[in-house]
Amino acid sequence: MNEIANRFNIDGGPVDFEPGQTILQAALAAGVFIPHLCAHPEFTPHGSCKLCTVTVNGRSGSACTIAAMPGMDVQSDTPELNSRRRVLLQMLFVEGHHFCPGCEKSGNCTLQALAYEMEMLTPHFAHFFPDRPVDASHPDVLLDLNRCVMCELCVRASRDFDGKNVFSLAGRGMASKIVVNSPTGLLGDSDLAVTDRAATICPVGAILPKRVGYKVPIGERLYDPIPISAQVGRLSGATAESGCCGCGSGASGGGCGATASATVAQKEA
C-alpha cells in the first residue's frame, strides 16, 4: 500500500511538509511567503493578527495555527486575501500612532514591511491618534505603547524564553494593553534585561533598546533593500536572529548595539 505523501498545494504549487508543521511553517520552509506579524519561528503561534489568513479547501483560517495535512488546497496570494490583509494593516496603523519618519524602527519594522508588501498607500480609516504611555524608566530599554500592536511576542518571549514573565496583556477590546510585571508597573522596576529575548523581539518600535537608533542608516535597514517576501529563509528561522534586535546590522551574536550596550552594562556591573 502506498503511503500518502506529506504534500499540499499553495496557490497551485506543491509544498512538502514535516508532520507537525503548520501551513505557515511548511510554506516558509519551502520558500513560499505568507504575510504574518504575530507568528515567530521561536514561539508557539496563537493566531491573533490574522494577517496569515488563508483559504484552506474553501474555508478561511490562520496559516500559523492550522496543521499541514496531505492534499490540502491552500490559497494565499490572491487579490481578495491581500485586500483583506491590507485592511487589517490599515486598521493596525490607525489604531496606534505609527509615525514612521519619527520611529527608530523604521526600515526594520515588520508592520511597515508588510504594508509595503501589500502596497498600502494610506491608512484609509479615521485615525485614533491614541495617547498611550511612553515608559522610559528602564536604563536600557524603551517601551512606547503608542506603537504596540499587541502581537504578544514580548509576552511569549519573556515567559517561554527568558522565564521572567515581565509582560502580559491586560484588559479587553479597546482597553487591551501590554502591562509590565513590576511593583510600580514601570519597566525600570521590572527584572527585564536588555539581553533578554523579550527586549529585542518586538516587530514594531514599541520595545526598543536604547542608544542603538540610527546605527544603520535609513535606506540600508533590514527591509529597505529587500522586501520582506524575499526574506523567507530568515522568517522561517533558517537564519538565526537570536540576540539581535533586528537593527539591520545583520548581527546574530554580539554585533549590534543591543548586545553591545548589554556588554557595557555587564562590564560596568
Binding site: E119, T122, H127
Partner: protein
C-alpha cells in the same frame, strides 16, 4: 484635405502646502531636468512654483502636501477639491497627519499657553490677531476632510516616486510604486 489635428491641450497641475514643511515640494523639484519633460505635457496652475494664489476653475491634477491643522487649511483643501479632477495626497502629513499630528495627544490651549505665555518672549499672550487662522483641536490627514483620489506616502516621497506616479497617471496607467519607491519614512 483633413484639418490638422489640434494640439492636445496641456494638463493643468496645481500644488499647495497645508501644514507641512514644503519637503514634498522640494522632492517635486528633485525630479530635476525631468521637469522639462513634464512641461511638455503639463503646465503649473496654482503652486508655490508659480505664486498663483487661487486655482483655475478646471485643474487636472492637484498635489497637496501637509496636514489639516487650522481653518485656512480646510478652506484651501476644499477649494482644491472643487477645482481638481484628481486630488493627490502627497507625503506623510497629507496621508496620515505626519509630524503635525504628534500634537494630537496634547491639549491645544495648553500648548498655546505654554509656548506663548510661559516660554515665549515679548508680550506673553496668545496671538489673537483676526487674520490668524484658528487652530483645529486635532490635526487631520486630508482624506478625513475631503475625498482623495490617490496617495503618495513618504516623508517626503522621493523625486523618483513622484515622477513615477505622475508619469503613470499622465500616461493613463494605474499609478504604482514598487518596493524602494513606496516608503513611509
Amino acid at each position: 484635405m483633413p484639418p490638422p489635428l489640434a494640439a492636445k491641450p496641456k494638463l493643468k497641475i496645481a500644488t499647495t502646502s497645508l501644514s507641512g514643511c514644503f519637503g514634498c515640494h522640494t522632492s517635486l523639484c528633485d525630479i530635476d531636468e525631468r521637469i522639462l519633460e513634464l512641461a511638455e505635457v503639463a503646465e503649473f496652475d496654482r503652486s508655490p512654483l508659480t505664486d498663483i494664489k487661487h486655482c483655475s476653475a478646471h485643474v487636472d491634477i492637484g498635489l497637496i502636501e501637509g496636514s489639516v491643522c487650522n481653518a485656512e487649511n480646510v478652506h484651501v483643501l476644499r477649494e482644491f477639491r472643487a477645482s481638481c479632477k484628481i486630488l493627490v495626497a502627497l507625503g506623510a502629513c497629507a496621508v496620515n497627519g505626519g509630524l503635525p499630528a504628534s500634537r494630537n495627544a496634547l491639549d491645544v490651549a495648553d500648548c498655546l499657553q505654554r509656548v506663548y505665555c510661559e516660554r515665549g518672549v515679548g508680550r506673553h499672550q496668545v496671538p489673537n490677531d483676526p487674520e490668524l487662522p484658528l487652530l483645529l483641536d486635532k490635526v487631520r490627514p486630508i482624506n478625513e476632510v475631503v475625498r482623495i483620489d490617490y496617495f503618495i506616502p513618504g516623508c517626503p516621497p522621493s523625486g523618483d516616486a513622484i515622477w513615477k506616479f505622475l508619469t503613470d497617471l499622465i500616461a493613463g496607467r494605474m499609478p504604482r510604486l514598487e518596493h524602494g519607491l513606496l516608503r513611509f519614512d
